[in-house]
């Protein structure tokens, strides 16, 4: 029996809940939530690739591109509207993804992981070396206008989270639509057996190429949003440990559902925030142990908890 898909209403509900949080929770919490949601978009891209059996250790590449598109749009080209910048960031990712994707679509497994890592490190070194790009210190990004609303008119501490949530949940809805489409399922087939996939007259390379670009767009949009939220961009966005964090969050959440990255993202920010507080010099170890336990005991991620839970309910309900 197929469960009725309630994802869209849940997305709307979550959007309302999160938006409410902006008004009714302390500032630091709504900020943490906003960061988590923006970063979870990057994770959504990682998950999209993971469903096809590909692990990208270099989503920082696009994350950084998105951040710098936002930074340069407002600082150098006078494009200060967040709506326009998000679209520009997505376009930037399409262009960059199409170029490097041509090389990457020949690789799988560890090679894919390592090459994506190398790519992001190249971008990192290029920015660090180049004072015209702000060098290693990066530069600040002023608060944007949001769909024509200037930061003077509405407090950006309110408008920016709302805008982030709107963009993110829209993309989540589209991603859900995509996961359920033929293309989305082809990804699962790619992971299972590439050759059989080709017998179905689908090109594995084309599929990898396309998915890589899509994941890049998500990461780039996430990066652009983060640039506004933190008000600063620096090459650290492309450093490989940043990308490693996204893979971590993806595993934490799981790949079973489009909402898993969101759950993973929020849980991760909370864990990190508290680990930083309680064990300021051991937070890496806390993360490492959690990652290890997740892989060994809960390889499907936190999301599998809800699945298990629902399954049990259904079993109980069955006659």
């Amino acid at each position: 029996m197929r469960r009725k898909d309630r994802t869209y209403p849940i997305l709307v509900g979550l959007f309302l809940l999160f938006s409410g949080a902006v008004f009714f929770t302390p500032r630091w919490f709504s900020f943490l939530l906003t960061v988590a949601v923006a970063r979870s978009l990057v994770v959504l891209g990682v998950v999209l690739l993971m469903r096809a059996g590909l692990v990208s250790f270099g989503q920082g590449f696009f994350y950084c591109i998105g951040g710098y598109v936002a930074g340069f749009s407002s600082n150098a080209f006078g494009v200060t509207d967040a709506g326009a910048v998000v679209i520009l960031a997505a376009l930037g990712a399409v262009v960059a993804g199409a170029i490097v994707g041509l090389l990457l679509c020949n690789y799988r497994d560890i090679f894919f992981a390592m090459l994506t890592l190398a790519l992001s490190m190249i971008l990192y070194s290029v920015i660090v070396k180049n004072p015209a790009l702000g060098g290693s210190d990066g530069f600040n990004v002023p608060p944007p206008t949001i769909l024509g609303i200037s930061p003077e008119a509405v407090d950006p501490r309110v408008s920016l989270p709302l805008f982030t949530f709107a963009v993110a949940f829209l993309l989540y809805a589209l991603a859900h639509r995509y996961f359920l489409s033929g293309f989305g399922y082809a990804g699962l087939a790619l992971r299972m057996n590439e050759i059989r996939l080709e017998y179905l007259s689908l090109s594995a390379r084309a599929l990898v190429f396309l998915k890589y670009i899509l994941a890049g767009v998500l990461a780039s949009v996430g990066g652009a949003l983060i640039a506004y939220i933190s008000g600063h961009v620096d090459p650290e966005l492309a450093y490989w440990t940043t990308s490693g964090e996204f893979v971590f969050i993806a595993l934490l959440g799981g790949t079973g559902h489009v909402l898993a990255p969101l759950a993973g993202g929020v849980v991760f920010e909370v864990i990190r925030s508290y680990a930083f507080d309680l064990a300021p010099s051991l937070w890496q170890m806390v993360l490492g142990v959690i990652l290890l336990l997740m892989i060994i005991f809960m390889p499907e991620g936190l999301w599998s908890l809800t699945e298990r839970f629902l399954e049990r309910k259904r079993d109980e309900a069955a006659p």
Partner: protein
């Protein structure tokens, strides 16, 4: 005419270091199909162990000539111990899982080890410069070189020869090659694969630690040195072909020599040179210079 020769020598020293540092990484991948991201942390363990041992040794005033033996052995020992714990305690739980998932397990190990190192040794720098300075220097072409660095070339050659001999001329090496070729069939033939895996991982870890140990005297051992090493070791190994000792040797030479040339001739492009080589090689030979042919499984 002097500069090209100096570049060659600089490049050889740097290549030797690269080879020592990345040989263990490629060995483990070749046999076990595990790309060990914690390799850099094992390197750091070796460096810290060596630095502490050297500090203690010279403070106690023993014979300096023996110090080399002592700190190499101790560092390798620390590597063996750490390798055993990681392989027996963690990796064997995930054998047979996706290659990429195992990669993530080693990433988790890296995160944990970084803090374990901090817990043991703190964040202050350690020095072990005595063995480095004690060997003196030799003037070649009018340019002084540290004898320690020149010996590194011999050490790298020795390590390479030993690895080659072990793999190609011994019974255990034959078993290893059989496992590399086809794990299941070798198991069916009665080879104890589990034990070979443990041995390989331990040797690989000891090599990483040894890499740290030989480096320790020439720098100050500080937090984060392992993380710096891992990226460059990856570049070497991927360029040469994952899992091939010969490939790693070639990759080390290629990257080491080009980097030295870049420092002398075009200092601003030095960092990018590594990646340019890597990209160029991979564009022509997608799996590195010495890649193995893989059977397609349907």
């Amino acid at each position: 005419m002097r500069e090209p020769l100096v570049i060659l020598l600089d490049g050889l020293v740097y290549s030797s270091w690269l080879f020592i540092v990345s040989a263990g990484l490629t060995l483990i991948y070749g046999v076990m199909r595990i790309l060990n991201m914690a390799h850099g942390s094992l390197y750091a363990v070796g460096a810290y162990t060596a630095a502490s041992v050297v500090g203690w040794y010279f403070a106690s005033g023993y014979d300096p000539t023996l110090s080399y033996l002592v700190f190499f052995t101790c560092a390798a020992g620390a590597g063996v111990l750490a390798g055993l714990i990681i392989e027996r305690g963690i990796l064997r739980v995930v054998y047979g899982r996706d290659e990429v998932l195992v990669l993530l397990v080693t990433y988790a190990v890296l995160l944990i080890l970084e803090d374990v190192i901090k817990l043991i040794w703190g964040v202050d720098a350690y020095f072990a410069y005595q063995p480095y300075a004690a060997l003196g220097r030799t003037k070649i072409l009018g340019i002084p070189f540290a004898n320690y660095d020149l010996l590194l070339i011999l050490l790298a050659a020795g390590t390479g020869a030993l690895l080659w001999f072990g793999l190609n001329r011994t019974r255990q090496g034959k078993f290893l090659r059989a496992v590399i070729h086809d794990r299941e069939v070798s198991e069916a033939m009665g080879i104890n694969v589990t034990r070979l895996y443990t041995a390989t991982f331990v040797i690989g870890s000891a090599l990483a630690a040894l890499g740290g140990a030989v480096t320790a005297p020439s720098l100050s051992v500080v937090p984060g040195i392992g993380v710096e090493v891992i990226v460059i070791a990856f570049a070497v190994v991927v360029t040469g072909g994952l899992g091939s000792i010969g490939g790693t040797l070639l990759g080390s030479l290629l990257i080491g020599l080009t980097r030295a040339a870049a420092v002398h001739l075009f200092p601003r492009g030095e960092v990018l040179v590594i990646f340019v080589i890597m990209a160029a090689v991979l564009a022509v030979r997608p799996e590195g210079i010495f890649a193995r042919v893989k059977a397609r499984k349907i």
